[in-house]
């Protein structure tokens, strides 16, 4: 399996529509700028979709689940068996992202990209394993080259299915006990920041647990340092299968011209990987929910991005992006459906002096 497809360029957004959409924003019956962030969101969506009536009715949420050898180091508050249990919970509709997808009318896919669980018998779970969990990256590279390529391709395949099904937006979620450790290690290596400045409680560690996690990651980064020569090698040595799948999905979405709503900390580490591989993918990414992980601020600075909401969520699964989705939908509707000053016979304030 090759990773050559990562070299293909992102689809350019429609620059003429971008300008036309800003022009329309200035004519809508509201003071200029008064819809705040919603205006730039709508204009970007118009330029992505090439229409003044952008729409996000059809949304695909794909949750990538995988296990992590680094869990052996005691870096998570949950036992590794929870990964497989949660895959079953996603499939049965009981997890947070299941409920959110249902409420939002979004289609939900669950992909086992490398858990230790046997998910073949779980109805609705797509099994595309790069391995039965990564190796413990405190002692060896998390994955082999072939596993990296497989996990990236699994993300690409998910986007291909989304495009085929007519999706207008892609949300990638993740589940994997210990995956904040892998995501933190990736972010540390990409940004040149030590783990103590990056690492937080994940989904439930106490202070001693956080310090232990930072120590494990710093030791692993020191071990692999000579080999961390590119984004892909960072991903291979200290990443995870679901992080690779998200990275592949984001690159592939940009290549296909499918807008993306990025979730929290782990998804954002995958997004930074994607943009280090393909900087031109940046135009296609929105960021949904801020993370309380200390490293998140560093990621947002590096990504030059601002998340839409901060509701103190720290669950993953794509849940933060899902909660932010209605904001994108409402922004699109306002742009396409509000009356212009001329249509409504309203005096435009910007022409007048108080």
């Amino acid at each position: 399996m090759s990773t050559k497809w990562l070299d293909l360029p992102a689809k350019p957004i429609d620059q003429a529509m971008l300008a036309a959409a800003w022009d329309r924003e200035s004519q809508l019956t509201k003071p200029p700028g008064s819809l705040g962030c919603l205006e730039a969101i709508a204009v970007r969506l118009a330029a992505m979709q090439g229409t003044q009536q952008p729409g996000l009715e059809r949304v695909r949420i794909t949750v990538f689940a995988a296990d992590h050898g680094i869990a052996d180091e005691g870096v998570s508050a949950f036992p590794q068996a929870v990964t497989g249990q949660m895959i079953a919970n996603f499939a049965h509709g009981g997890a947070a992202i299941s409920v959110l997808a249902h409420q939002l009318g979004a289609s939900l896919e669950v992909v086992d990209v490398g858990s230790k669980a046997d998910c073949a018998a779980m109805p609705g779970v797509i099994v595309s394993k790069a391995g039965a969990g990564t190796a413990n990256f405190r002692h060896q590279p998390a994955m082999r080259e072939s596993q990296l390529a497989s996990a990236l391709q699994t993300g690409r395949d998910a986007v291909a299915r989304a495009v085929k099904d007519g999706a207008q937006l892609f949300i990638g979620g993740e589940m994997g006990i210990a995956n904040t450790s892998a995501a933190s290690a990736v972010a540390c290596a990409l940004l040149g920041v030590s783990a103590s400045a990056m690492v937080g409680p994940g989904t439930g560690l106490d202070q001693a647990g956080v310090a232990h996690k930072a120590k494990v990651i710093d030791e692993a980064l020191a071990l692999h340092q000579p080999a961390l020569t590119s984004p892909l090698q960072i991903l291979r040595h200290v990443g995870g299968f679901e992080i690779a799948a998200l990275c592949g999905a984001y690159v592939s979405s940009a290549q296909a011209g499918l807008p993306v709503l990025v979730d929290g900390f782990i998804a954002s580490s995958a997004a930074l990987l994607a943009l280090r591989i393909r900087p031109d993918a940046a135009d296609w990414l929105f960021f949904g929910h801020a993370s309380a992980e200390p490293g998140y601020v560093h990621l947002m600075q590096a990504l030059n991005a601002r998340p839409l909401v901060n509701l103190d969520m720290r669950l993953g699964e794509g849940s933060g992006a899902a909660v932010a989705l209605p904001i994108l939908r409402l922004a699109a509707a306002l742009h396409g459906q509000m009356a212009t000053f001329a249509e409504a016979g309203v005096s435009a304030g910007s022409d007048l002096k108080p």
Copy 2:
């Protein structure tokens, strides 16, 4: 018309359900606290509605529109005629709140509580005028006692209609050229803060315009100071009809046990009035969207509240609350529909040591 009904207590929320709902939150298949603010929102909704399956399908949005004598002082970037033009735009479905209500499946009411426009012929507009605009409060009280009582009652009537129609949540919006000046004056008087610390650009003033607005408000507050002896007298002397209607609606919602989602700066000044009149109404209020008006931070401190989102919106109309509504809906759905650890056969992390 009497304001005696303001003395009736707010409905108590269901304390037993509050405790039961927190217990259920701890059993759902997620790390404890990982849904952040959504957990407290859902628990409050459960206690308000007395059920572990709270729902917000039926939402009433009522926009109260009115004119302001203080507009004569040049405190707005828009001419006063825009109030009436926007009432027509609401009714025709072209305004931001019209589009949002439609997208959200919320029913929208437009109430002329005191504009200078003749709205009798506008289909769908409820005319309940306390006057043809307030008096210019730089020189005289904004309204007479009877007008205050009428505007408060208009808000109460709107809530009565919402309750009759089976609404599960009330959103109040406002439209009125120069109404940030009235709201700022109310907030200054309630909080004992000078206008220069409170006043901002509203929907479009430049720096000189903001300074002029602050000066106008400070002069008005000095003029009326001896009479500003109660929340109601503050509202009467320097408030506005739509602010009074919102205040009446909030008090009335709490009395009826109807949850409220408060919009931005102007709505929050009305909410502070409501809570100074009836502190026990606090349990029934959610706050939707942060305002960039400098005074907003003071209001939130006094209200001990935190808005759900900050998307740099500054439009009013109830639009910020509308954009935040899906967060409440999703919080309610997660609480009612997620599986428990026992139901899903997932190991609960809080029982385990890493």
